[in-house]
Amino acid sequence: MKLEMRPQPSSFWAYASPVLALLVTVAIGIGLFMALGKDPVKGLQVFFWEPIKSPYALGELLVKATPLLIIALGLAVCFRSNVWNIGAEGQFVIGALAAGGVALLADKTTGPWIVPAILAAGVGGGMAWAGITALLRDRFNANEILVSLMLVYVADLILNFMVFGPWKDPAGYNFPQTRTFDAVTQIPRLMPGSRVTIGIVLALAGVGALWLYLYRTYAGFAQEVSGVAPAASRYAGFSSRRALWVALLVSGGAAGLAGALEVAGPIGQLTPYVPAGYGFAAIIVAFVGRLHPVGVVFSAILMSMFYIGGELAQSRLGLPKSITGVFQGLLLFNLLACDTLIAYRFRLFESKPLSPSSQGAR
């Protein structure tokens, strides 16, 4: 058996590869549950059935999918431009911090205008944090992968400083957290009794906006060309600096928005536990979704299942919560492996080697 280059990349496998990757991940998951002495059927149920079996569960699924989707949409722009922003987690944290700062200003007399202000602060915070990476890359040609990644840890430390220090709730029994935000700052919910907020509406609007940008605008075309063919971009006269800034500001702004929606939504205060790994998981979401606005929707929901499944596996099956990370990693690696099939195919029989004796046989 050997791998053979296809005459042209298969469009079938471009879409089928994520599905195959998921199936392989499930298969390895079954093996993993069995090796751990757990019932694989129960294990799969926890990951793939529990999260969708009731309206409440579905709501929770969407609560977790919303930040993943918003961040992944921004990262899709970034990765398509060949800019490697690995620090969405940090931009998420700074966005959350800025949004939290605005939310803390609210008191009994504040009007509902505070919600748009919180969201704007989140976007601004995320953009500013990503802007540092863009500036260093632009001015000093610093590697954006390293800079954005290291800024994640800086962001975490700033958050810790604020909640252990200046913003600590005086009535909070010395717990490292701010006071709970005023009710008026709460991001409006879609329906009573569910934790789903208008964030999911914003995310879906983002899906449409990204699709239009990529496939129906000249600016989106220029952005994409700068990523896939830098020499062609230079030939056409598109600015590579502009592409860099757009990529980082869009992805940073999206991550910041997700941070704002998270702290002023389900969390309701700033704590050291705001960073939940959404920024890193969204990288996988973006790639599994083929950097396509619609594909990202499906992969965000899938990744959200892994999050919820991991928590349930902890309580129901007595497995560590880090099983979530195992599944996320497996999925990404399987996807990369399955992507080989887009450009290559398997041939079962090798062609016969050339030798004088084989001549008679033919």
Binding site: P7, R216, Y218, V228, A229, Y235, P356, Q359, R362
Partner: protein
């Protein structure tokens, strides 16, 4: 003598190399189908064919770099199976590739050493290089680092490396594409010496006059099959061309040149190199008038790339007034602004620069054409598709339609599409680099015809090419580029291969009288 070292037991009349029924197919394309070939000892045997006819695949099969699906091979009457290049070398087969495989940071001797018996030490290798170069009248200093060598000298390293294995069969793949005419003559002298000593040579080329001058036998390939065998000395260019493409390319219509105003003027252009392996431009000056075709000849790597970057706007460091288009200094302008002035450019790299490989032809139009971009930057997909369909039809681009991705097209068809995209923009000045590089003969003559038609319609055309034949065919005037400098202008009537060849080495005399006396 190499011939006497053949194992005993076969008759002296057995051919050095005999192939029969060689077939090789890749997914979607049959590269070789039932190929038979017979090379006598000491023969210089040409393998002629268009790009994509299967020449390179066949040579790689002989050299063991590619495994055939079927067929057999015999050397000196003895059946052989060549599984890899090491075995090929053990059998006395050497190959000089079209693209060099040298390490820039190592010296000549070290590079040669890499391909040789490991028991030798570097001093011995150097001594043998000197011996070999002396025996064949080549000049090469074994101690020089490869990155300081010109392309012609690099090829000499490859050839010396091949000669030092005492080959009985030497394969040369398009060896002259990077050489000046004088260097080609030197190479031919070496090859004739080699053949007199009994070494067989397989010479791959699509240049008809070279084959007629050098080779004593010729096998012609078309679409993976042998389409004929002949003695090239008894053939004409036209008859060889018929064997190669099945028809003679249509002759170009000569035209009466009516020149108008100066469209492009380059004055005292100095430009330091952008990357360390580039070339500094120094005092480049040239003029192109409306309606004329001006050519720039020269071996690649003498500053053409840097000049084109400065002209197209991909490099905006040139002084504003040193490049003037229609009376306006454009040195600092972006490519998009120059395009609005009517300057259009077709780069030599089609995939990745002239077109985005992974995008459709329709979207590739957007690189230089904004006809279907509406208010606010919204695209009209319908208009884009229609425009692409028009370009495809008008320039006979063979492809799967406007949605076909650029990389799915053959080199010639993609070049037709890119040329069509720029010509349809109605340029005042079209700059084209290597217009027919890697393009088959039919498409090449179509592209040259389009260029002449464009000039006839009053466009100024500047062509940069390595192919002298092409420049002589379409240009009204010629410049030669060497070492970052541009020669004075030379009317085509005064241009001869010898003179241009001399100029390619940078040897143009300050006064034209001295040049013709030389």
């Amino acid at each position: 003598m190499t011939a006497s070292s053949t194992p005993s037991g076969h008759s002296a009349a057995a051919p050095r190399l005999q192939l029969s029924g060689i077939s090789k197919s890749y997914p979607g394309v049959v590269a070789n189908s039932g190929i038979a070939l017979r090379v006598q000892p000491g023969q210089i045997h040409a393998v002629l064919g268009e790009n994509g006819a299967g020449k390179s695949t066949l040579m790689k099969i002989i050299y063991g770099a590619v495994k055939p699906d079927a067929g057999s091979m015999a050397m000196d009457g003895q059946p052989v199976a060549v599984r890899n290049p090491q075995e090929a070398r053990a059998l006395g087969i050497s190959m000089v590739f079209q693209h060099f495989s040298l390490f820039d940071t190592l010296s000549v001797a070290e590079n040669v050493w890499l391909g040789l018996d490991k028991r030798l030490n570097l001093a011995e290798v150097s001594r043998r290089i000197v011996e070999t170069t002396r025996a064949y009248g080549l000049q090469l200093d074994p101690a020089r680092p490869v990155h300081t060598l010109s392309v012609g000298e690099r090829q000499r390293v490859e050839i010396v490396r091949a000669l030092m294995t005492n080959p009985r069969l030497l394969i040369l793949d398009e060896p002259t594409s990077v050489l000046t005419p004088q260097a080609v003559e030197n190479l031919f002298v070496t090859l004739r010496t080699l053949s007199q000593q009994g070494c067989s040579i397989l010479y791959i080329s699509h240049k008809l006059h070279e084959i007629r001058a050098l080779c004593t036998a010729c096998t012609v390939l078309r679409a993976g099959k042998v389409s004929g065998a002949c003695d090239p000395r008894a053939e004409t260019n036209a008859s060889l061309s018929r064997l190669m493409i099945g028809a003679e390319p249509p002759a170009l219509v000569r035209r009466v040149v009516k020149t108008g105003d100066i469209v492009l003027e380059v004055k005292q252009l100095d430009l330091a190199r952008e990357d360390q392996f580039g070339v500094d431009l120094s005092q480049v000056a040239l003029q192109v008038r409306a309606g004329e075709v001006v050519g720039i000849a020269g071996v690649s790597g003498n500053g053409q790339r840097e000049l084109l970057y400065a002209l197209s706007g991909e490099d905006t460091r040139a002084a504003s007034g040193s490049i003037v288009v229609k009376g306006q200094g454009v040195g600092h302008m972006s490519p998009a602004r120059r395009r609005r002035l009517g300057l259009h450019f077709v780069p030599e790299e089609r995939l990745g620069r002239g077109a985005v490989p992974s995008l459709s032809l329709a979207r590739n139009l957007l690189l230089t054409r904004k006809d279907s971009v509406g208010a606010g930057g919204w695209l009209s997909i319908g208009r884009l598709q229609a425009q692409a369909r028009q370009t495809i039809e008008r320039y006979q681009v063979r492809c799967g339609g406007p949605q076909a991705v650029a990389k799915s097209l053959s080199g010639g068809n993609l070049q037709k599409f890119i040329m069509g995209r720029e010509i349809d923009a109605g340029p005042a000045l079209l700059i084209v680099s290597q217009p027919t590089w890697g393009v088959d003969v039919g498409a090449a003559s179509q592209i040259r015809g389009e260029l002449l038609k464009l000039a006839g319609a009053g466009c100024a055309v500047l062509v940069v090419s390595e192919e002298l034949d092409e420049l002589f065919e379409i240009c009204d005037r010629l410049h030669v580029m060497a070492k970052g400098q541009l020669s004075p202008s030379l009317p085509r009537a005064d241009a001869t291969v010898e003179k241009v060849g001399l100029w390619m080495s940078g040897l143009w005399a300050p006064a034209p009288a001295a040049g013709s006396a030389a």
